[in-house]
Structures are given as structure tokens and as C-alpha cells.
Symmetry: C3
Subunit: 264 residues, 3 copies
């Protein structure tokens, strides 16, 4: 796991263009900024080309999709493909809402994404595997998470990050499992959205190897969250959210290397 | 006051579908999530039916209404009525902005809401009582708050929560007054929005008795805020907001029962 | 520097109507509220006249502009001009995105603004000075910041606040430089948006002297941030953001007078 990418990211300060979930957008912007990237959010298709051009990567989040935003995502996705800019796609709640699944499938047919980041319920829905998702939450299912993630990656020819207590990262063949984390991520809305945007930030600086970029992003967020949670004496989701922004700025490669737990 | 509903809520983890105020949406989502509910927000009418179907309750917030969002609320409200899903309605700033009062009245004529939650200026405006509201704030007036809340409840055939230093909950006949709270709620934007969504969460698990659900929600939020404020040595609205999310997750029935101050 | 305006603001509790950047809107609302103003946000043109009428000042932020929002800003700007209500204009990212520069120029031709608040890259772009802006960040350039701010103020016949490590406030002739601040402002997304809205709050209570209002706003925010940063033992952007909201409520004229560092 090439954790040196964290230092590279801080040196390069890549611009990440987010078509965002308005519920979590401030937290995502602050998380990107604290880590060392430069966030920009937009809801206007007329500036899509300018923003893709200045961005190192794009993150498309379905969290609060509208027909207008879907049209914007189509344009942003196509331009990003033309410019070979990495695209991270976050299919929020496609496991629970049929309309969202249809939108996600249409967008995935419209342009090629680099990474899909979702929870088990969302990745299972995209892979066509039966699963009981619950709203924006992962829900419960009996499937093999690695098999589901691989099926999704193979179907859409991209890297998949299936996040949860263990994060599964796969390009359809290789698999990395990241075991770091804390249950507090589930108690803070937008942890998944932030991971998607951090994957985009790492993909911006490691655009030829998005599998590695995704794995490093997962270790950085899960590890940082674990370090923050270890300092708490009770489950305090508000304090955790503040501490996570602090620590994303302060965390070092060395700290992460000492606690990183993953199988490659 | 049936505070055991808090335990029921945490066991059932109801989905609350919010047509949200974009100013406070992240805080509301985190508050719902911290307490033990599952928030989902949407701005797209095409997924209205799916979301009402998976939700235990709906919360419609006028805080940042647009013509598009008003049309969405009409559809969501009608579908929720068809499915007998409880609706909480938050008429933000109807006391200060004539356009909003008209929109609120039109929506209230379009479908039947279960609970209206607003401050004194907002409830007075809906009830047709003269009052000096100020922007999003309650403003000042000389009326009898209980009479105003009752008049509003009788006019719209629903439960009313008139929140303020004392929360008044009424179904038009019965009245509960909740005396818990802290002035810090006024210093944190979105306290009212959060209360509306918490009322929806309790209505989701106690759909046959929304009067009780609303009263319990008021005690839970006011009591939790009071517990947080009691730990502060100065009026720190930022720290209060973080502590409120923490404590919504940690607070117990027993703690609330010990401090609850209400008249039924 | 007339810091007594802070006490006046808290006494008058002016309503500030924001056409907002959805990324930072909650933080801006809480900052205004904590300081002692009353925020209201709207995205609907149909209520523009009502909101301008009740507001003491208007803040127009291009941060997440859409064609719909641009049309709303046109209407709000014209009505504010008719009512002689101060307008603060925040040209987010006009230095990096040509489309935004065009929109900003069109709006500035449409109505007269009272104050423009931007970073070096944004003010340089409006002034027509060559500069290397980077996304939402100031970027780097070799120009003289005072000359750039003056040129922008003269071109648009308004007060300009060019914010950064040193804030430059000018009406095109007079210049105030505010040297307070902390690097943590750069680590927290939305510090500039908050400054713009605080300028509007002070302009609401000092509408005949917006140059003074802007200078006081700059000292209040930069000074408050400095006081918060002085209490931190490491660069913690999350903790800083919470502390800033706390301290905006608690800070006194006397505290600010003791640390204020400016040239007039």
C-alpha cells in the first residue's frame, strides 16, 4: 500500500470537482480541504467544461439527484471522458429506490467511470445481486461481499470500493480489504460521500493506477477515523465529525502506516 | 409522557423522508441519525412515491422553498395521505413573508398534515392571529400561546407543536406544555427544523397517536439540549451544536425522565 | 475603526438576506446568528421583494450559481437598488472559471453593488488584472494587492474587500489594511463566504458608510479567528470552525480593540 501518496496529494493540492449531495456537501468540502485537496462544487451545466478542465478528478454523487442534476452529470461525465479525467461515482440509495437504480444504470451506460464507491446494498444493486438495502443505509444481506464487489467491477469495467466495517477494493481481479475503521462512521451522515470524494482526490494524483488510489483513500479515511475514535471515551458522533476534520489535516503517513490493517 | 418511545425508536430505526431546508439539512440528518432514525432527503418528484413507500414518516420544511419544491411537496403530501403515512409540516417564516403564508395555506388545503411544528410567529400566522414575526425568528406578540396553538390545530385538524422557551403541544383540545430547554437553541440555526424532523421520527413509530409522539419528541429534544447546556460554562453555540448531536445518541430514557418538566 | 458597531449590531439584530452558496450556507447562517444578526436564505424569486423589504442588507454569493439563481440575483439586486438596501457581492471563483466572470460582470452591470468581497484572484479578475487563481482559492500573482483592490473599486464604484492574510478594504481612494487573522481560515471552507455576509450585517446597521462597515466586519472576523486560533495547540480546522461560531457570540469590543492591528 503506497501511503506516500498522502504526501504527494498534500504537495499537489489537486482540485476535485464535485457534483454533490447537498446534505453532506459542507462536510465533504471541509474534509477534502483539510486533507490537502481543493474542493469545488457546481450545480450549473454551463460551467461544466471549465470545471472539468481545471479539475484533477470529478466526483458524481447521486445523493440528492434531480432531473437537472442528472443532465449535468451526463455532460460532466462525457467531458471528463474526453479529457481522460478520472470519475468517481457514488450511487447513493440505489439499493432502496428503483428510480435511482435506473438513473445510475443510464449514467453508467453514458460514460465510463473510473471508480464506483458505495455500501453493500448499493454495490449489490448495481451488480444485480439480491440484497436488502435500507434507505441510505447498507442494509443486510447474505452474499459474499468480495464476490459482489468483483461482479460490479467486471460489469462496469472499473474499480469498485464497497465500503463498510471492512472496505473491499477491487478492479474485478485483484482485491484489497481494509480492516481499519470505527462504528462512528455509521453514526455520522456523509462518511461514504467523503470517502468517494477522497478517492477522487487520490485518483487525481495517481490517475494511471486508480486501484491503488482507491485503496490508499480507504486506508487514509478508515485509519484516520480509527485514530479519532480511539481518543473518545463514548460514542459521540458530533465530536467524532469535528475530530475527523482535524485529524485529516494532521494525520501523517507514519501514523497511518503503524495502524494500517489490510490484505492485498 | 411515554418516554419509552425513545427505546422503541432506537429499536425500529424508522426512515424519515425529508423535503428539507438546505440551510440546515446536514444538521437535521445528523440529528435524526444520532438519535436512532434513518434520514433520507430528496429534491426529485420522480422518486416521491418510492421514498414515501419506504418511509415511516415524512417531514415537509418550507425553509428554502422553490416553485419546484412546492410541486414536489404537493405530490409527496398526496401520496403520503394515500398511504396513511404521517406528515409533519414546518411553515418556516410564514409569519414574516406573505408569499410563504399563501404557499403554506395552499399546501394545507391540498393534503392533510398530521403535525404542524412552528414558532409563535409562524403558528399565529397560520391561525390568523395578529403577531409581529421577524424573519425566521418568532418575533414578539401579546397573544396567549396556548389559545393560538389550539386555534391552529382546530383550523387544520391536526396536532400543533408551537415551540419556544415553553413548547406547547395540542390536538385542539388537549394541551401539553414542555418547560425544558435552553436559550442556546435560539443561538443555533435549525433547532426548529430538527424538532420537526424528530417529531416525524416519533410519529413514524407511534402513528396512531401523533399527539403523544409530538410531546415525546419535544421532551427529548428540549431535555437533551438542557443536559448539554448544563455542561457549558458560557454561551457557546458551536460547541452546543456538536454536543447536541453527541447527546442525542447517548441520552437515555432515565436521564430524560429525571429532568422532564411538563404539564399535561 | 469604529468597533462600537459590534454593540450596535447586537442591539439591532439586523436581518441579512442571503442568496447563498449551498456548500457553506449552514455555517454562514450560524455565524451571522452567533454574532447577533438574523439570517434568512431564499432560492425563490417570487419572494424576493418580501425578503428585500424585511432585510437590512442583501448578500449575493456566486459560489454555486445556476441560471435560475442568476435570474433570482438580478431581481433581488434591482429591488435592493430601488429600496436603497445595501448589497454585498461575493464573486466566488471568477478568477478560475470564465463563465463565472461573465456572469459576475453581467450582474454588476445590472445593478449597483455596495461592497464586493473576494480573494486576490477574484478581485484581480474583476479588475481585469492578470493573476493565477486556482479553483476557489486565491492562487498566486505578483501584483500589488492595494492597487488591484483600488482598481476594482473604481471600476464598479463600490467598496472592495480583498481578503487574505492581510485584508485590504478600499473605496477606491481610502485604504484600510487589516493584519489580524490566522492561517486556519484557509483550512476552513467558507471563511470568505462568512466574511461577505458579516460585511452585509454591518452594512445593514451602517448603511451610509459602507467603507467603515466593511472595515469593522473584517476586524471582527479576522480578530475573532485570531483569538480562537491562539487557543489551539495544533492546526485543527474542525475545532477552529466550532470555536469560531462560539467566539463570534462571545467576543467583545474590548477584546477586539486590544488585538486589532490595522492601518488606515
Amino acid at each position: 500500500m503506497n501511503l506516500e501518496l498522502l504526501t504527494t496529494l498534500r504537495q499537489q493540492n489537486p482540485i476535485v470537482f464535485n457534483v454533490a449531495n447537498f446534505v453532506t456537501v459542507q462536510d465533504v468540502a471541509n474534509g477534502l480541504n483539510a486533507l490537502g485537496a481543493s474542493p469545488i462544487m457546481s450545480a450549473e451545466v454551463a460551467e461544466a467544461e471549465s470545471l472539468v478542465t481545471i479539475a484533477g478528478a470529478v466526483c458524481l454523487n447521486l445523493g440528492t439527484l434531480t432531473t437537472r442534476q442528472i443532465a449535468q452529470m451526463q455532460t460532466v461525465g462525457r467531458i471528463a471522458n474526453q479529457q481522460a479525467t478520472p470519475i468517481v461515482f457514488d450511487p447513493v440509495a440505489v439499493g432502496a429506490v428503483p428510480y435511482r437504480l435506473q438513473v445510475a444504470q443510464d449514467l453508467l451506460a453514458d460514460f465510463q467511470v473510473t471508480v464506483i464507491r458505495g455500501n453493500a446494498g448499493e454495490i449489490a444493486a448495481l451488480a444485480g445481486v439480491d440484497w436488502q438495502a435500507k434507505g441510505i443505509d447498507a442494509g443486510t444481506g447474505g452474499g459474499d461481499l468480495i464476490a459482489i464487489a468483483k461482479a460490479c467491477a467486471q460489469k462496469y469495467h472499473c474499480v469498485v470500493v464497497l465500503s463498510g466495517p471492512t472496505d473491499v477494493i477491487t478492479d474485478g481481479i485483484r482485491v484489497t480489504q481494509v480492516h481499519n475503521g470505527t462504528e462512528l462512521f455509521q453514526l455520522h451522515v456523509g462518511s461514504g460521500d467523503l470517502l468517494s470524494s477522497l478517492v477522487a482526490a487520490f485518483a487525481a494524483i495517481e490517475s494511471t493506477d486508480s486501484y491503488t488510489a482507491a485503496g490508499v483513500a480507504a486506508v487514509v479515511l478508515a485509519g484516520t477515523g480509527e485514530l479519532v475514535a480511539d481518543q473518545l471515551t463514548a460514542e459521540r458522533p458530533g465530536t467524532f465529525a469535528v475530530g475527523l476534520i482535524d485529524k485529516l489535516h494532521l494525520v501523517t503517513e507514519k501514523e497511518l502506516a503503524q495502524i494500517a490493517k489490510y490484505d492485498e
